[in-house]
Symmetry: D3
Subunit: 238 residues, 6 copies
Amino acid sequence: MRIRVINPNTTESMTALIAASARAVAGPGTVVEAVTSAMGPASIESHYDEALAVPGILAALHDADGYVLACFGDPGLDAAREVAAGPVVGLAEAAMHAATMVGRGFSVVTTLSRTKGRAHDLAGRYVAAGACRGVHACDIPVLDLESDPAARKEVVALARHALERDESDVIVLGCAGMADFASAMSAELGVPVIDGVAAATVLVQSLITLELRTSTRGEYAPPPAKRYSGLLQPFERT
Amino acid sequence: MRIRVINPNTTESMTALIAASARAVAGPGTVVEAVTSAMGPASIESHYDEALAVPGILAALHDADGYVLACFGDPGLDAAREVAAGPVVGLAEAAMHAATMVGRGFSVVTTLSRTKGRAHDLAGRYVAAGACRGVHACDIPVLDLESDPAARKEVVALARHALERDESDVIVLGCAGMADFASAMSAELGVPVIDGVAAATVLVQSLITLELRTSTRGEYAPPPAKRYSGLLQPFERT
Amino acid sequence: MRIRVINPNTTESMTALIAASARAVAGPGTVVEAVTSAMGPASIESHYDEALAVPGILAALHDADGYVLACFGDPGLDAAREVAAGPVVGLAEAAMHAATMVGRGFSVVTTLSRTKGRAHDLAGRYVAAGACRGVHACDIPVLDLESDPAARKEVVALARHALERDESDVIVLGCAGMADFASAMSAELGVPVIDGVAAATVLVQSLITLELRTSTRGEYAPPPAKRYSGLLQPFERT
Amino acid sequence: MRIRVINPNTTESMTALIAASARAVAGPGTVVEAVTSAMGPASIESHYDEALAVPGILAALHDADGYVLACFGDPGLDAAREVAAGPVVGLAEAAMHAATMVGRGFSVVTTLSRTKGRAHDLAGRYVAAGACRGVHACDIPVLDLESDPAARKEVVALARHALERDESDVIVLGCAGMADFASAMSAELGVPVIDGVAAATVLVQSLITLELRTSTRGEYAPPPAKRYSGLLQPFERT
Amino acid sequence: MRIRVINPNTTESMTALIAASARAVAGPGTVVEAVTSAMGPASIESHYDEALAVPGILAALHDADGYVLACFGDPGLDAAREVAAGPVVGLAEAAMHAATMVGRGFSVVTTLSRTKGRAHDLAGRYVAAGACRGVHACDIPVLDLESDPAARKEVVALARHALERDESDVIVLGCAGMADFASAMSAELGVPVIDGVAAATVLVQSLITLELRTSTRGEYAPPPAKRYSGLLQPFERT
Amino acid sequence: MRIRVINPNTTESMTALIAASARAVAGPGTVVEAVTSAMGPASIESHYDEALAVPGILAALHDADGYVLACFGDPGLDAAREVAAGPVVGLAEAAMHAATMVGRGFSVVTTLSRTKGRAHDLAGRYVAAGACRGVHACDIPVLDLESDPAARKEVVALARHALERDESDVIVLGCAGMADFASAMSAELGVPVIDGVAAATVLVQSLITLELRTSTRGEYAPPPAKRYSGLLQPFERT
């Protein structure tokens, strides 16, 4: 089977990181293709960025059996489900579902404080009330996670604080840029630490194995064809 | 004061309808400017359409003291709040808040069945659990509401059914294209019927009068500047 | 149009304060009449006070196009809606609705700690779960807010603490006696600060403009006529 | 011990009915005193009636070890708890708690449709979400329950319908005037049928036995003394 | 009437403690019989213990008019209701219901931290959201509560902390082994302190007095007869 | 890797069915071992059965990298997580998580009406409010599903009804005995139909691949050692 992992920002180095994380867990026989969005923001750190990452995602939903949206804000997930031919899984979605299966309550550690609200909203959408016990931000910009050698250390410290404060037992990494932190952090903290990229990869692989794809009954049926104009005319579907 | 009412689809005749509804309730001294989105879908009837209506909205948020997003799905509301200089109010948001102040429980009557989920999601975001007692669809496409002479009649019948079935006491019109139905429907049904365009206009006017604008503390602070590329390069902010 | 702002306690100086706050935001052509309750407690600081403020409110619901209940506990709101000929808006109701349109989560700052539960209950009734992120009390009695020169300063300090602790971005003033604090507090704190008196005035004005009044279908229909006796015989309706 | 059962309306025949129901279940050594409110409405069938029943209740909270508020709307319960020297239990409160201990989900059958919202509100306050599966009205006025020989039959039919429709397994009688229906209805329907008067009597008796009374820490502490004026001056506390 | 109080662990000294607490509040004419489980764990401090306490409970549900499950985790309550001939009440259930009738929000103080999640789950099942404001653990093993002279003191200190931190006004004791702490703790703390053993005893007595027993309509009907095998063959019902 | 699928009832033919469903989706390199419980009920159709299925499950949690609890009631899931060395996934848990990733709202179709409450409880635990739109029962006993040739047809008809009534877009099969219905039902109904056995198998395989196992921080730490006695003495852990 073929899984397409879409990096919704335009930074190639993040695509490489994401690809490595996804490939590390894909099963034998699963081909992981990681693609970088062709348009929009270099990183996603606001609702504005997130909204403008969606067109690039929608343009990339082809030629695979299933799709991973590799940004923790799960931008455009509903729209993607309407147009993709196979199942689509978001990072927050996958990580949060996995977290509930290995613990009683998780904490999210993320990058900028301003994105905490979005993480809470997503928890409200995906998991039962109370499963997400807190969201914590290190206030390191997304693109500095890789380059800043102190970043991982700060994220570990933040996670340790979150476990105490939230009385949680699992850590969810709230940014695709933290994908390579999970294993070492888990060893250091002694609790499950979940990278959404890996989680989404095995979950979409699971859905494909189960021969499940997005329901076309009702809300997620293919959208009605119509005229598109201006800059976005290329998105017209016929 | 100056209120800009943004029609997020590209259909000029809907902009005219929306403008009339907004102007009918604006106070003396309030200038209502209605604009049509410069890009994207001709009408909004899916998550795909909604996502692709957001760039056009974001491009139109200037030169006013407050903004109305004139589509019942309130597309891009969070992003709009980050970048607009004045308050921004969505149609569903305004209509639902108003509904809770004149009744105990409202029903939404909307166009396509596939949009019911979005209406439920918005109710979950804006009002207390239980305030929205039901969402009902007539399955008339948005752009046929005007042209189809039977449309209003069908919407009235649907609303009547909704009041009985949901034991509700207020009707919320779930599409900007129904803006001119409210008054006659209210007379026929004997209950408050709320048009979101008018409601959003007076609410944003109220916020401006109160000298309230979106908080810049935390989540809605102006987004960090960054590189945008490809088709969406024009959205780069500096 | 004519809006009657009802001070549900019997303290005239608070009525003057409330009247000034309401008049400052009323539109041209709107006449604001502020009245003091003819019976009951001098201030409202307990469930007991609140219950006994309701008869005075019910006696004052006449001769206007819309009504403001100018106490943050919104006493008797349901009963008022049954008998008033025009829309009725409470202070907490108006302030909380407005708060959700200019921020992601608000904190209430109020007078006595013992009233915090009521504020939480009202938030549960008016806004979506999570919108009210905390309620904080300064423990200054209502009638001392005006006379105590240090009061405003303490309320500012409390609000600053609330913003940090609750990770909120908007302040709601939890007492009609704080009506004149809003503007200076907003300047000091750098976030929207909402006075319920002003908010309720523009919201009820908005409802009147929209030609909306309380639904008479079901729960808010005029109450059945019946015999009243004893001290409360004057409240008999025929 | 001494339990005072307060009929918050002014109809003596209802007091007699309530007294009989309470006495039938009181333990040996428990004295039940039933009193009729000295002021206000002859029956409680609206928010207006309910608000105006509260002063009469507050005037009757003396000379006992515990109190039952014998109206299913539990009017003034918070205020009563602030001023009564012993525990106070409402009818809806008692019946709903009892219902959750003998079944998985209950239906309320009540008098007027306009009171259904209040029953839902109380369920939201007392029991976990989902415990109350429906509220159904027979639209027989409160004072006709006794005199109308067909009333009980209609209430039985309504309860039978409720059990089917709500998939519930317990019936809660939603009016003090139905107190004498419980036993026969239970026999006919084959499910527990709960009369709030009896339930509140044994529950308040239980609280007294446990030496529990309303906490005076925080919200339910005795209200601050203050000036009361006008018609309600007699309610001033010193 | 005859109430059977079942200690679901196998420690006789705890049964004696429980029996004393139950007998102290039972009415005249009520016979309290306390029994020790015939199988399973010596104390209940994990989900594992709790699951393995259930068979012993199910074997003890006979020869009484009503049953108390004397462990704060309320193990096997649903199963017990299916097979017992009279009403069955759990400790957490009784204590939490009672707590809501004498205060606005309670804190639970319990033994091991690992059981806090269970207490939260039970609160979610029995009482309205928000009624349980916190769960706190002293981390003293169940069987040390009696023998350790410092235990009560530590529990008092924990409760004092809980009242401050949770802004609660009632304490619920989260372990049957704390049954004899309630009265002295209440005197020291100045708030109601609720022992679930006593609470469950008077509540099941109340249900019996009301002639209420578990509904046999639907979920709690006697379970279908079937073959049981292996170690648990004795549990086969015919 | 090695996955142990535990049939918690004692019926061997159901184990065979379950094994086939699990093996059909397990990845290359995954060994699925299906075991039948050594004690307890022949099928699980009540809370009583479910409680008495738990000991058999707890006895079977060894010699694998991960475990599937192959009963839709997910009996003993918390206890199993405390003692198993690898991750443990329940059928309802897996099916409900999967359902939310391929649709907007699912309906459960199950066997006996009396188990509907349990399905609702589990939905409340695993997924966000509103994700489970209904639970429907065919009232065919578990062990008749296989032998009754009409069973699958009735389940299909029930599912069709559920999709209409609940406005859902995914079907969750609410019994391990329906494991072989999924594929044909999906073809007939045109929506995703989810068999929990298959879903749990791929999900536990995913967790193992991610090197995630149940957190031992807090609630799911190994239970304290203690004395067990009577029939259940063999469950003593040291």
